[in-house]
C-alpha cells in the first residue's frame, strides 16, 4: 500500500489491516511520520514529534501482532496517535503551549495516555493547542498558530482549525495521525472538530481521568478523542475512559460498549430540538443543515420534539466567570520555582511577577485577571456566587427536558471556520464561538460533534448531539445515524502535502 492509502485509513480499518498482517505497525507509523514531515511546515499541528519512540513502539507492536494471541494483541495495537500538549507524557515535553512551562518534561504519564499506551497505541508526538487551552482558534499558542488543512473554494487564505484542540483537529483532518486526544472546557473538542470535518466527543464529566492533564477549569475540563469517524470515536473513548482513583472526581462506573451503540436502532429514541439554539446572524447554511439533521434522525426512526432551555443565553457569560475563576486558582502554581521558566527579580514577589508576566500570553493573563477580580473581596458574591447559581439554572434546564427527550440535536457552532487573524481583536466575538458547546460543560453532559455538510465556500459544518449524564451511548447512536445519512466524505485537499513553496 502507498503511504497515503495507509494514513487515510480509519482507525478501525487500520487495526483490522494490522491484525490481518496486510501491513506492519512499522510501515503504518513510518507513513504517518512521513506525512507529518511533509505537512507540519504548512500546518504547525505538531509541536514535538517523537519519531524514535514511535518506531520503537511500532516494533514492539509488530512482535505482538506476529505472535497474534488475544492477550498479545491489545485494543489499539500499533495505532499511531497524536497527543494534545496538555497531557503529561513521561519523558516527552508537556508545555500546554505556554512559555511559562519552558521545557517541562513530566516524570509521569497522565491517566488517559497511560490507558492508550497500555492498549498498544503508538505516540507520534505532541499536538499544538491554544495556550493552557484558552482560545477558540489556536492562535494563542506559544508555538504559533495552527493552520487548518481546509481552505475556502478558490482561495489560499489560511483558515483557523478552531480551538483549543486545533492541533488535534488539524492533524486528524490532514491524516497525520489516525486519531488524537483532546480536551474540552467550553467546546475545545467539538468546535475544532466541527471546523475541520472531524468527529469530537466530550464525555460526561468524570468519565475520563483528569490526572496528569494540565488543569484549566477543574469543574469543566474533560478529555475526549478527535477522530475521522463515529466508530473510531467510540473505540477511542472506550479505551480512554474508566475510573482513576488519582482523580477524586473520576466516576467509579463501568465503561459501556460504545462501539455497539453506534449500530443501535433509533426506534424509541426521542430527540429534542432546543428552540433557543437559534442565534442572530447564524448563517442560513447552518439553519438548513439543522433542519436536514432533524429529517435524517426522523427518517432513521427517532421521534422529534421541540424543547426549551430558557437559560441558554446566560451560559457564555456564566462560563466567563466560572472558568477564569477556576483558572486563576489553578494557574497560581506556575510561579517559576519548581518547574518551568523563571525570570529573576529583586525579591521573591518580584520574581513571581516577572516570571508570570513574561511566561503567560495575553489571553491567559486576561483570564487570570478576570478570575482574580471576580473572586476578590467585594465582588465574590455579586459575580462568582451569582454565576454558580445561574449555572444551576442552566443545569436544571437540561434536567427538565431530559424527562421528555433522550438527547438533543443542535448545530455545533454558529459559523464555519474563519480566517487566521480574523477574530482575534475582540475577545467577546471570539468567545461566541462556544455559544452552543459551553452549556454541556456547565451541566457536565456528554456531547458529540459530527461532520454533516460543507457550506457554499466548501468549509465543513458540524451537528451536535447532547446526551444525559453517562449516556454517551445515545450520542453515539444518533451521531452514527447522522454520519450515515449525511455521507460526509469530503477531504480538505492536498495543498499541505509536499515541500513548502
Amino acid at each position: 500500500m502507498t503511504d497515503q492509502s495507509l494514513t487515510g485509513l480509519t482507525l478501525v480499518d487500520a487495526l483490522a489491516g494490522l491484525r490481518a498482517r496486510n501491513f506492519s505497525a512499522r510501515e503504518l507509523t513510518e507513513a504517518h511520520l512521513a506525512a507529518i514531515a511533509d505537512a507540519n511546515p504548512h500546518l504547525n499541528a505538531f509541536v514535538h514529534v517523537t519519531a524514535d519512540k514511535a518506531i520503537a513502539a511500532a516494533d514492539v507492536s509488530d512482535g505482538r501482532l506476529a505472535r497474534g494471541s488475544e492477550e498479545e494483541v491489545r485494543a489499539l495495537e500499533g495505532a499511531p496517535l497524536g497527543i494534545k500538549d496538555l497531557f503529561c507524557t513521561e519523558g516527552v515535553p508537556a508545555t500546554a503551549c505556554s512559555k511559562i512551562l519552558g521545557n517541562f518534561t513530566p516524570p509521569y504519564e497522565s491517566g488517559v495516555t497511560e490507558k492508550l499506551f497500555a492498549a498498544g497505541a503508538i505516540h507520534l508526538g505532541k499536538l499544538n493547542m491554544d495556550e493552557f487551552a484558552m482560545g477558540s482558534s489556536n492562535e494563542t499558542s506559544a508555538f504559533g498558530p495552527v493552520t487548518s488543512p481546509w481552505r475556502r473554494n478558490g482561495s489560499n487564505a489560511p483558515m483557523v482549525p478552531g480551538g483549543s484542540s486545533g492541533g488535534s483537529a488539524a492533524a486528524v483532518a490532514a491524516e497525520l495521525c489516525l486519531a488524537a486526544t483532546a480536551t474540552d472546557t467550553g467546546g475545545s473538542i467539538r468546535q475544532p472538530a466541527a471546523f475541520t470535518g472531524t468527529v469530537g466527543i466530550k464525555p460526561t464529566y468524570g468519565r475520563c481521568s483528569r490526572w496528569g492533564i494540565v488543569a484549566f477549569a477543574s469543574s469543566l475540563d474533560q478529555a475526549g478523542p478527535i477522530t475521522r469517524t463515529v466508530a473510531d470515536s467510540a473505540l477511542m473513548l472506550r479505551v480512554m475512559a474508566g475510573h482513576d482513583p488519582r482523580d477524586s472526581t473520576s466516576l467509579a462506573v463501568e465503561t459501556p460498549n460504545f462501539e455497539a451503540a453506534c449500530h443501535a436502532s433509533l426506534k424509541g429514541l426521542t430527540v429534542g430540538v432546543p428552540k433557543e439554539y437559534r442565534v442572530d446572524g447564524m448563517p442560513k447554511a447552518i439553519e438548513d443543515l439543522w433542519e436536514r439533521g432533524i429529517a435524517w434522525l426522523r427518517d432513521a426512526g427517532a421521534k422529534i420534539r421541540t424543547v426549551s432551555l430558557p437559560h441558554t443565553k446566560y451560559a457564555l457569560p456564566c462560563y466567563y466567570i466560572v472558568a477564569p475563576a477556576e483558572a486563576s486558582s489553578n494557574l497560581a502554581r506556575f510561579d517559576g520555582m519548581r518547574y518551568g521558566a523563571r525570570v529573576e527579580g529583586r525579591d521573591l514577589t518580584d520574581t513571581y511577577e516577572k516570571s508570570r508576566g513574561a511566561g503567560f500570553g495575553a489571553e491567559v493573563q486576561r483570564r487570570i485577571l478576570i478570575g482574580t477580580y471576580v473572586l476578590s473581596a467585594g465582588y465574590y458574591d455579586a459575580f462568582y456566587l451569582r454565576a454558580q447559581r445561574v449555572r444551576r439554572r442552566i443545569s436544571d434546564d437540561f434536567t427538565h427536558v431530559f424527562r421528555e427527550v433522550d438527547c438533543l440535536l443542535t448545530p455545533t457552532c454558529p459559523s464555519a471556520t474563519f480566517e487566521l487573524g480574523g477574530k482575534s481583536v475582540d475577545p467577546i466575538e471570539m468567545y461566541l464561538n462556544d455559544v452552543f458547546t459551553v452549556t454541556a460543560n456547565l451541566a457536565g453532559l456528554p456531547a458529540i460533534s459530527v461532520p454533516a455538510a460543507l457550506d457554499a465556500n466548501g468549509l465543513p459544518l458540524g451537528l451536535q448531539i447532547i446526551g444525559r449524564a453517562l449516556d454517551e451511548e445515545s450520542c453515539f447512536t444518533a451521531a452514527a445515524a447522522i454520519e450515515k445519512a449525511a455521507a460526509f466524505n469530503a477531504k480538505p485537499g492536498s495543498w499541505f502535502r509536499g515541500p513548502r513553496s
Binding site: 469543574s219 457569560p317 486576561r366
Partner: protein, 95 residues
C-alpha cells in the same frame, strides 16, 4: 461597569503578574467590556438557588491516610529552574 486602571493594577498585584504601566489603560478597557457583557447575569432570578460547584453528585471519596509514593526527589528536581544538593533554589524569603 467600568474597571479603572487602579483596579487593574490591584488585581494584577493579587495575580502576581507584572503588567507594564502602559498596558493598564488597554486592559482596563478590555476588562470593562467583558464585565459589561457579564452584567446580563443580573437578569436571572436566582432566589433560593443553591450555588453549583460540581456536576458530580457524589461524596468526595476518602482513602486511607498512608504514604503511597515517594523517594523521587531526583525526578522532581529535574525540571527545577534552579536546584542544588537535593533542594530547590529560590529567592531569599526570610530576612
Amino acid at each position: 461597569m467600568a474597571v479603572d486602571e487602579q483596579t487593574v493594577r490591584r488585581v494584577a498585584k493579587l495575580s502576581r503578574i507584572a503588567v507594564p504601566e502602559d498596558r493598564l489603560a488597554a486592559l482596563a478597557g478590555e476588562l470593562s467590556g467583558l464585565m459589561d457583557w457579564i452584567e446580563q447575569l443580573r437578569e436571572v432570578d436566582v432566589t433560593g438557588v443553591e450555588p453549583m460547584t460540581t456536576t458530580v453528585a457524589m461524596a468526595l471519596p476518602l482513602r486511607e491516610d498512608r504514604i503511597t509514593d515517594g523517594g523521587k526527589s531526583e525526578a522532581i528536581l529535574r525540571n527545577a529552574p534552579r536546584a542544588t544538593d537535593g533542594f530547590f533554589v529560590v529567592p531569599k524569603v526570610v530576612e
